[in-house]
Amino acid sequence: MPEKPGIKKFLNQLFEALLPLGSVFLALLVGALILLALKVNPLVAYSSMLRGAFGDMTGITQTLVKATPLLLVGLGVCIAFRGGVINIGGEGQLLVGALAATALAVGFQTAPGWILLPSCLIVGALAGAAWGGVPGFLKARMGVNEILSTIMMNAIALQLSNFLLRGPMIDPAEIEAGTRIAQSALLPRSVWLVRLVPKTLLHGGAILALIMAVVVFIFLWRTTIGYRIRAVGLNPDAARYAGIRVPFYQALSLILGGAFAGLAGAVEVMGVQHRMMEGLSGGYGFSGIVAALFGKLHPLGAIPASILFGGLLEGANKMQRTVQVPSALIDVMLGLVVLFVVSADLLARSRARRRKING
């Protein structure tokens, strides 16, 4: 019967698609027990969560606003992990990207928008690339482990941002008012990314991120450099025998990973905040890793993964407001979701293996 394999394949696909959702459900179940312990009706809490994430215009756009930096950082993580390097430095790369874009935009206020706007995006990406390039260089030349150096570079970027925002880049109005709040001047309107939906924060960066996902997909699977990066990641020894310069491609994947995180920073400044300030990175450097891994380190998989994860973050905030539970509960539940989702992976993998063995 010719239909049967098709149905089986479909069922398999369905199972794998439902698996992460199932584990999210399981995590919510545990969360429900905690909610009951806090004397909160879990149904009320969760319905507000769903409404907060996807229930109305505000929720949907907020979810997408969150998904945008998650996707961009996640794309960088995809490249780095595909190249066999672990980039935990998204947080720092995002900050320097935002700083660089801000500095350029504020420094050349009067430049025409059609040249200033793309320049800001590019400069943000370049700054992120440079910040990722330091661990890349250290790994390629000195053998310094990138986990160590990217964690350290995050702390350095944070202090650099503190320094610049209270000194050279501080908004002159803050000095004048005597309030001395550490934030930059407002960016010129010419570099503000277009608002896709009026009265919401959804901005053109979301579309840019979608395009970039396709670009990264083409880059990794349709170009020679992308092929080499993946070869190095899959098996560095084999790649070396094949004549691929392994350290170079490892460094390159860190640099490209940094570029996307830097771009995320520039987009966040130009699309959402319109100025550089403390708290801008908002943990996207870390959540982006989670989003990328939810998407199986595939650039296109990262799209739904970052929307799902963005929705989870957004909905959880709404739930916190509606039922007035401490915000820490959100972290507990997100932690559980992450743990359950990665654990459930085993089921998918063992099924895949059985399929392989059975032919």
């Binding site: 696909q13 369905l14 794998e16 698609a17 698996l19 992460p20 996807f54 215009m57 505000t58 949907i60 907020q62 997408l64 606003v65 969150k66 944070l158 202090q159 503190n162 209270r166 501080i170 008012a177 005597g178 309030t179 001395r180 709040i181 550490a182 407002l186 896709l196 939906v197 009026p198 009265k199 924060l201 959804l202 979608l210 959402v272 905040q273 319109h274 100025r275 300030m277 403390e278 708290g279 908002g282 943990g283 199986k296 296109l300 998989g301 799209i303 739904p304 993964a305 929307i307 799902l308 973050l313 905030n317 709404k318 916190q320 407001r321 007035q324 401490p326 915000s327 820490a328 998918a348």
Partner: protein
């Protein structure tokens, strides 16, 4: 899995783009006209209202606050939250005034979502309790003319941008810093004072600068050592900073941000005295905390509520000063403070209130 979710996500995006076509119409223009006559340095703000108020007196006044830290941070966020609770009690409890809060909103986009959400739920007053929320607030406020917003620390009510429903508030932390510096310099036996701040900016920087000025004016030969930890939450490094100050000879310590609790512990252990900022930290170390500069926001909150009820939705900038009793020095009766030190501190408060002392430069002339 990828393909299914991918299609799903495309649908969501598509839906978003479609709905964007039918966004709600622009809100009606506001009829309240507020003219503000304000000198930033002078404490009380004069407001001339030529308004057509439409006060629909509601039974319950609903306040929401969004804050970066938590309601138990023993610092900036707690001071505002406790202020709200106090006003609530005065107004007659939760039946008369509802308080909703979102804490831990250190991500600005999260805070923006919370502010927008509270406004659309019809809260009368939404407080954005962090200077980093300002840009977002300026984008949200015009969409909700029926809601009053407040934010701080800042003095910018966005009137220049044509926004009329935003209050702003700020604490003159340097005034309290000056007085505590005077007190500490007079109490110090070693003549060395230690200050550990979080990040060298904003409120913390003003407090530290005021403290140093006050101490140097009181005792020109005193030494004020200053360090910053680069973080608002690094309790451990703050403790190490206090250790360092004590090893460098300091016997009087102060600092600001929620991470100072680590330093207070060290002061207690080593027998140094502590001067608290933003919130009364006495109960953490009853033998150690000599005095605290406390932010009392109740006056500001009450005035905002009265204004909103009268139909004035914004346009006022408040400052907490000694003069308007928003800044209070809370002495700890458990710690003996020499009479001359207390006299000098009281004189400093008086001087600041008279305007004869500038907290960042000292006595005038």
């Amino acid at each position: 899995m990828k393909s299914v979710l991918f299609r799903l996500s495309l649908l969501v995006v598509l839906a978003a783009v479609l709905v964007s076509g039918c966004a709600p119409a622009a809100a009606e223009p506001v009829t309240v006209e507020v003219t503000r006559v304000v000198e930033v340095e002078a404490a009380p703000v004069e407001v001339v209202v030529t308004a057509t108020p439409a006060p629909v007196e509601e039974e319950i006044f609903r306040v929401a606050i969004v804050m970066p830290s938590s309601i138990t941070d023993m610092a900036f966020s707690q001071s505002m939250y406790e202020g709200l609770l106090k006003v609530q009690a005065e107004m007659g409890g939760p039946e008369k005034m509802e308080i909703a809060y979102s804490e831990g909103m250190f991500k600005v986009p999260d805070a923006a979502a919370a502010i927008r959400d509270y406004a659309s739920q019809g809260y009368n007053l939404v407080i954005a309790h962090g200077s980093q929320y300002g840009t977002s607030l300026a984008q949200i406020a015009p969409d909700f003319p029926e809601t009053a917003f407040a934010w701080g620390t800042s003095l910018d009510t966005f009137q220049a941008q044509g926004i009329t429903n935003v209050f702003a508030y700020q604490a003159e932390a340097q005034e309290g810093g000056y007085v505590l510096g005077t007190l500490a310099a007079n109490m110090s036996a070693s003549g060395v004072l230690g200050v550990s701040g979080p990040v060298e900016a904003g409120d913390a920087k003003l407090f530290v600068d005021g403290f140093k000025t006050g101490a140097m004016i009181a005792k020109p030969e005193a030494k004020v050592n200053i360090s910053y930890t680069g973080s608002f939450s690094d309790v451990s490094l703050m403790a190490a900073a206090a250790e360092t100050h004590i090893a460098a000879g300091a016997d009087m310590l102060t600092g600001s941000s929620q991470s100072v609790v680590g330093a207070i512990g060290v002061a207690k252990e080593k027998g140094a005295k502590w001067f608290g900022a933003q919130w009364d930290q006495t109960n953490l170390a009853p033998d150690t905390v000599a005095a605290s500069m406390v932010y009392d926001w109740t006056g500001v909150i009450k005035d905002m509520i009265t204004s909103v009820k009268a139909g004035v939705m914004g346009g006022k900038a408040y400052t907490l000063t000694f003069k308007n009793k928003g800044l209070v020095i809370a002495y700890n009766p458990g710690v003996e403070i020499p009479a001359d030190a207390k006299t000098a501190a009281e004189a400093a408060i008086q001087g600041i209130m008279d305007g004869t002392i500038a907290p960042l430069s000292g006595p005038k002339q």
